[in-house]
Symmetry: C2
Subunit: 374 residues, 2 copies
């Protein structure tokens, strides 16, 4: 049975000498344990959250392809960025947070999954086969393709977690940046269904158009001259005091906090030297801009800027809460939580310098899907 | 009775034209209501938290004194900073968060306070007389001077609130910046008494010496070449994951978060691409550096940087909690919560350009006390 599920797995390695190497290793899967399954991976997305592990802080202008039968891709890592690499040095790390495929072997307690198409979470998905606990799989609805199920964890659970956070922390409306992304579109559909006002910040008129087409009400374009004013108007109208920011670097989080404070002060009746008492929260959940976050603190003391990461949030939410969110994702997989991909590539393509340049751009609306069975 | 308690009160006004004016107005106090008292103010500190209202963002190089019997001081406010002044334009605002003095009149239900020396909180303390609810006064212990009681709210309650926050949010040690301040010294005494490990960040060897003299264990000097390393060592040793930062601007909060993350990773057994799971919190409670806060986010996603303000925290703590903290301050007023002042000045001195330059410097260890009865 072992060699039947022998297959390629993508690995990322950073050497102490400052070189990133992507390679395809042949890995043998042992027979599944009683509660495990082996899945033939047929679709796995390249999310922004995968790129950090996949490419590290490599200088992509130094990409060098491998040759022939043993495909390898290397790139240099700037010395200034090597300190952060220390914990992963010289380890051959598998990549890929989520994916979908067909169950080709199942342990004694997981026989019901055999032959089923499932969505999976848990890393190491950029591989031809993945062995994992049955509980980390969700059976896809009848008729759903592997591509439909490939992104049923990270983006859908993140979108739902934003709305869960809003409820848990007592806010009544949301601000979201890079809002025309796959995640942003899902969030709009969730917020419309749940009646949560959502202020979408986009970076172009084309992105605004994507959101208008799916029914978004509040869309502000950060490239417009009157951006701050329009943002303040939308925040005042919705009462948003919570933002999720995918950009991270630069001044956008700061601008959002200013707009929230200005909106709060529109209804203030007296001057407070310490700013309004309206608590304003920005969660940074991405790093589309790797530069520093700049906060001028010109919005009093009732504010917080925090990192946000899905897994710890789900742990806080608890098993029952997570199962509730998962069930909703499964039920609305091809509607609310539909993903669109700009291209489907093979495992070998992931090591192609031209294709790397394309998927590493993280352009809004562009998302790559790997099909390791190709 | 009314004209008996007629006296001077300091006022700060920002005009729409961009001019700050400090003046002394004569104010008549009505007779106190049944639950009120009138206090002759004998001591009121100039805290950093008072300076924002007192001087606003005025350019102190433009200070112009008034003349003769009607003392007035004016200064220009840079146009770029006028937007934030909008809510206070053309209002003559009293100043001074806290103070102490002698009760000279009391309503029917507050007769027990008559003739007593009390500490007070509630604004408008830079005045010869202050009328306020009896519940906002604390009777000073026998033998305590007005100077002893002048700072029994802001600094002591802030120091105690830091330790309360540590307990409420589940941290086990604290980092504090500008740690040789009056507040920092109090915090050291509280932490020693309560057995809470405290990492003190100071900016000079002289400040380190002040803290060593009162028994501080962990002192790191940010002007030393090995600051980051020493800070990480102290954080690793104490397990500090909570910091209170009085500086605000620049990179110190960022440096603290890096040191906390490095300390967490010293015991990490495997690489996490998203940083450690150790939650790291920095509260910014001051603005000794008015520049922007810069966060490079090189410490994963388990972090938060938030504003911290005493009054909302006390509201969260509830009346019972506040009474507990107040009782401790009163009991330990001349020991744990002793304040030192570098100079005592009159109300008129507050309008003297040379003295303004001195008290506006906010140098660690320098604090001015106003005695309006002079």
């Amino acid at each position: 049975m072992t060699d039947r599920f022998s297959g390629l797995e993508l690995r990322s390695t950073v050497s102490a000498a400052g070189q990133l190497t992507l390679s395809l290793e042949t890995v043998d899967r042992d027979a599944p344990g009683p509660d495990e399954v082996i899945v033939r991976v047929e679709a796995a997305p390249i999310n922004p959250s995968d790129l950090g592990l996949l490419l590290g802080p490599a200088d992509l202008s130094t990409l060098r392809p491998g040759t022939g039968d043993d495909p390898v891709l290397t790139a240099d890592i700037p010395p200034a960025r090597m300190a952060a690499m220390k914990p992963r040095l010289d380890q051959s790390l598998p990549v890929g947070n989520e994916g979908a495929g067909t169950v080709v072997a199942a342990g004694a307690n997981a026989q019901a999954l055999l032959g089923k198409r499932v969505g999976m979470m848990g890393g190491a998905m950029y591989a031809q086969y993945r062995k994992l606990p049955a509980r980390d799989c969700i059976v896809l609805p009848e008729g759903a393709s592997a591509a439909d199920g490939a992104s049923m964890f990270v983006n859908p659970l993140t979108a739902l977690s934003m709305v869960e956070t809003l409820r848990r922390e007592g806010h009544k409306a949301l601000v979201h940046t890079a809002a025309a992304s796959n995640l942003g579109q899902m969030l709009n559909r969730v917020c419309i269904a749940d009646g949560v006002p959502l202020v979408n910040i986009v970076r172009s008129e084309a992105q605004a158009e994507i959101l208008r087409a799916i029914g978004a009400t509040h869309i502000v374009d950060s490239s417009a001259a009157d951006f701050r004013e329009k943002l303040t108007d939308a925040i005042a109208e919705t009462g948003a005091t919570l933002a999720f920011d995918a950009i991270g670097g630069g001044k956008l989080a700061n601008t959002i906090l200013h707009a929230m404070e200005a909106a709060a002060n529109r209804t203030a009746t007296e001057y407070s030297r310490y700013g309004s008492s309206t608590f304003k929260q920005v969660y940074i959940y991405g790093a589309l801009d790797l530069g520093p976050t700049e906060l001028d603190r010109g919005y009093g003391f009732a504010w917080a800027v925090s990192g946000f990461l899905l897994t710890p949030f789900l742990m806080k939410l608890g098993m029952e809460g997570v199962m509730r969110l998962r069930a909703r994702v499964a039920a609305e997989l091809t509607t609310t939580f539909a993903s669109r991909y700009s291209a489907t590539i093979s495992l070998a393509d992931v090591l192609d310098p031209e294709i790397v340049a394309a998927y590493a751009r993280k352009a809004t609306g562009e998302k790559y899907l790997i099909d390791p069975s190709r």
